[in-house]
Amino acid sequence: MSGYLLRRLPSALLVLLLASFLVFAVLRLVPGDPAAVLAGPDASAATEAAIRAHLGLDDPLPAQYARWIGGLLTGDLGPSYAIGGQTADLIGDGIGATVELTLGALLFVVVLGAAFGIVGATSRNRWLRGAVRILTTGALAVPPFVTGVLLVLLFAVLLGVLPPGGRVPLLTAPDLGVQYLLLPALCLALPSAAVLGRYLEDSIGRALAEDYVRTATAAGIAPRRLLWRHALPNALPPVVTLLGMQTGHLLGGAVLVEAIFAWPGLGQLAEQALVRRDYPVVQDLLLLLVTVFVLVQLLTDLVHARLDPRIRWE
């Protein structure tokens, strides 16, 4: 397994290096700059020029890139241009909230996805299968900003049982924290749970169509044991890969859901930083996102290889 990991590392590092180039270059290509934002709506060009010089935005681009990467390698993420404070502190404040939201959503994805997939593939009740299909179609078709508003309307405004937004950290007050987490996590999870459910349904279906299942059935193995001990383990490896990819989707989708539920995570920080052209914060956040993607993919591949030995031998 460690050999497999070592073979994958160079490509992962190359991806990170290329991503850093791309992130840096693309941000500079976007029109507008932090000095104009900081200068304010009624500022003169002289004020803007003074601010640009102060931020070092007049320096050549290679020097700016080297300063950024040098800072990253020495653990100094530098000050935020527009928001204020240190970039590391800003990211540090938001990362807990985003991890909490993503893990909460991931839990929903796994539980709901498994339920959708297993019921869809194995239930003999047409109505139940139909209901799952309608539910997954709805979860895929309705965008999160609509789902979010509907959830808030139902649970916060009409029923009044859950708060409409905000966050209490789970570690600070678990009983309150879970109530703040439920709606945004569910909203974020629904589309991915539907995708996972459909994929699992298909995957179990194919596993159940295999010859060994017929043989096992003929040998008198109970259907439930057949599902849990034989069909499901064989259906899982591709589903794990899909779950890894969906984790990336969850991170990306968090931006919108965080806005709907006033969840103070990295998505909100990224949006604020991008609107204000706060280069250091946006650069570090995007690179962090790519790093998480790469790590999740590595982890997914490792789990996949663990579940399916053929992968390790390739």
């Binding site: 029109p31 507008g32 700059d33 932090p34 104009a36 934002v37 900081l38 200068a39 709506p41 009624d42 500022a43 003169s44 060009a45 002289a46 004020t47 803007e48 000050p79 241009y81 928001i83 204020g84 404070g85 938001g94 909230a97 297993i118 019921v119 869809g120 194995t122 239930s123 139940l128 916060a156 405004v157 009044g160 049982v161 859950l162 708060p163 409409p164 937004g165 905000g166 966050r167 309150l176 879970v178 109530q179 279906g205 159940l208 169509a209 299942v213 017929r214 059935t217 259907p223 057949l226 806005a259 709907i260 539920f261 006033a262 103070p264 909100q268 920080l269 604020q272 609107v275 204000r276």
Partner: protein
């Protein structure tokens, strides 16, 4: 698909389904009922019961006020007016504050006297005031505050006025003479705008690390993206103030979520409800809407006067006649504000009803003017910021102009790019945006608001006559017949030249819980909670 499988393992049995459902309900129940409820925690009664007389009848002490804001605090813009200046007056004081008639009232300056030649002003400063860290407030803090705003890096819009102060004469710790390079009549705008910060920690303040002021509340925490927490300043210079124990700012960027937050009692005050949502608020029994009619901003159509055919004044005037301002007021601002062809709110000394209604919706006259300028159809680009309110304004303008034969192509742009274009004078033919600074002394608008600046503005409009009248209006005494004449000349120039076509004055609209009392805003939208309390 499942029908073709040779065997179909049984789905979860009814019993196991019920067991799972029961378990789920138990878990949910633990969260929702077994422990504290997040909903009732947020709605916990404010104020200490029984401390005052009848609920709502008189101020009572205690409670925490939650304010919903749609943008985060930006400490790097601490000294500039931005979309989020609400917290300034909670942490800091200003030297003076205007009443509704633009008459300055004492705050950290208790009295003042202008020299006869208008070249200096003597300020008496309040004694017994301390910063949150315990250091006493003195004249040195005022000297620092003025010099600080002269620094271009602070991006303060009133820098020109601060820069007119060229000398300081300290007469003890609590008396100070400010000497001016030339007379200016908007010095009290500066005194209302300029927060008095602690010189020793100002660099920490602009990075959000430590904000040390003399205001009624101390900032205890800024969590970027989440909000701000304030606690009562127990040594505030106003006796028995503030009433509130604390204030929380919660950042709720999405309009629907912000509305839900108010309707469910999670927050009790907001100035960020979009115009179109105000009708929803109006029907909520526990919420009240009030409007600050002094107007902190105005919507306008900008015109690049160097682009043909917009370099022809007649064409610009035709555009001004072609727009239905009343419809914009209703559709974009929810009816809160004032449709107006001039930038001045009703509280401004420059306001006149004739100016406000100089251009009304008259498509026939607009078409006639275009024809007289030799045009029957025009195609023009219009830049706007791609946010809902700004897009609605641009679409309303686009619709109206199409009726007079001007076909507008919308150019939705993100705020940072629009800002860059504004400052660098690279706007296309037309753009829609908002401006402020008409709510104080009229001279401030032309001196400090970039779209109107006589020396350099986005419309690229230059005129020796405009420069002369603006400079004179800034340096002449604020009152009297001469002042009125100069203001009228500025208004006449703006209406006649139409390089900035004003559409509507935006009122600051306050949505608050009915149990909240005593909230005010200053002219620069700094929230004043000195006298605020929760009762009822």
């Amino acid at each position: 698909m499942t029908e073709s499988y040779p065997t179909t393992p049984s789905a979860p049995s009814r019993r196991s389904t019920l067991r799972a459902a029961g378990g789920g309900a138990l878990l949910l129940g633990l969260g929702l009922t077994g422990c504290r409820s997040a909903v009732s925690e947020a709605e916990a009664p404010a104020g200490k019961a029984g401390e005052a007389g009848k609920a709502g009848a008189e101020p009572r002490r205690g409670g925490t006020l939650t304010v919903a804001v749609n943008t985060d605090f930006t400490p790097s813009l601490l000294f500039a007016q931005s979309g989020q200046s609400l917290q300034h007056r909670l942490i800091y004081n200003t030297l003076t504050r205007y009443d509704d008639r633009l008459t300055p009232q004492p705050e950290l300056a208790t009295s003042w006297e202008y020299a006869k030649d208008g070249r200096s002003i003597t300020l008496a400063l309040r004694s017994g005031v301390t910063f949150h860290d315990g250091r006493p407030f003195t004249a040195d803090d005022v000297i620092f505050a003025v010099k600080n705003l002269q620094n271009p890096l602070r991006a303060a819009q009133l820098r020109a006025t601060a820069a007119a102060v060229t000398g300081f004469e300290k007469r003890g710790d609590h008396e100070l003479v400010l000497k001016l390079a030339h007379p200016v009549n908007n010095l009290f705008d500066l005194f209302e705008f300029m927060i008095i910060t602690d010189p020793n920690s100002v660099e920490d303040a602009v990075t959000g690390k430590r904000l040390n002021g003399t205001g009624p509340f101390k900032l205890t925490k800024w969590s970027p993206g989440s909000g701000l927490s304030f606690t009562r300043n127990e040594t505030y210079w106003q006796p028995d103030r503030p009433y509130l124990d604390g204030v929380e700012f919660r950042i709720v960027p999405q309009a629907d979520a912000l509305l839900s937050s108010l309707r469910t009692g999670q927050s009790q005050l907001s100035f960020s409800v979009p115009g179109k949502n105000l009708t929803v608020v109006a029907s909520a029994p526990d919420l009240a809407i009030s409007e600050y009619s002094t107007g902190g901003g105005a919507l306008y159509l900008g015109v690049n006067t160097t682009v043909a055919p917009l370099n022809d004044k007649t064409v610009r005037q035709a555009l001004a006649w072609g727009i239905d301002r009343e419809r914009i007021l209703q559709q974009v601002l929810g009816g809160y504000g004032l449709a107006s062809a001039t930038p001045w709110p009703k509280s401004s000394p420059a306001f006149t009803e004739a100016g406000r209604t100089h251009y009304t919706h008259n498509p026939g006259k607009a078409r006639e003017l275009l024809r007289s300028a030799g045009h029957t159809r025009l195609d023009l680009p219009l830049l706007h910021i791609n946010l809902p309110g700004e897009t609605a304004l641009a679409e309303a303008v686009q619709y109206d102009l199409r009726q007079i034969g001007v076909h507008v192509t919308l150019q939705p742009t993100d705020p940072a790019t629009a800002q860059k274009n504004l400052i660098s004078q690279t706007m296309p033919g037309l753009w829609t945006m908002s401006h402020s600074f008409a709510q104080v002394q009229p001279s401030t608008l032309a001196v400090s608001a970039y779209p109107f600046n006589e020396a350099k503005n986005t419309s690229k409009y230059r005129s020796a006559a405009y420069t002369k009248v603006v400079r004179e209006a800034w340096t002449a005494p604020a009152d009297g017949a001469r002042a009125n004449t100069l203001r009228q000349q500025i208004t006449d120039t703006l209406l006649d030249e139409a390089f900035i076509i004003d559409l509507a004055i935006r009122g600051a609209v306050q949505v608050s819980a009915k149990k909240l009392h005593g909230v005010t805003l200053n002219k620069f939208s700094y929230l004043n909670l000195d006298d605020a309390y929760l009762a009822g």
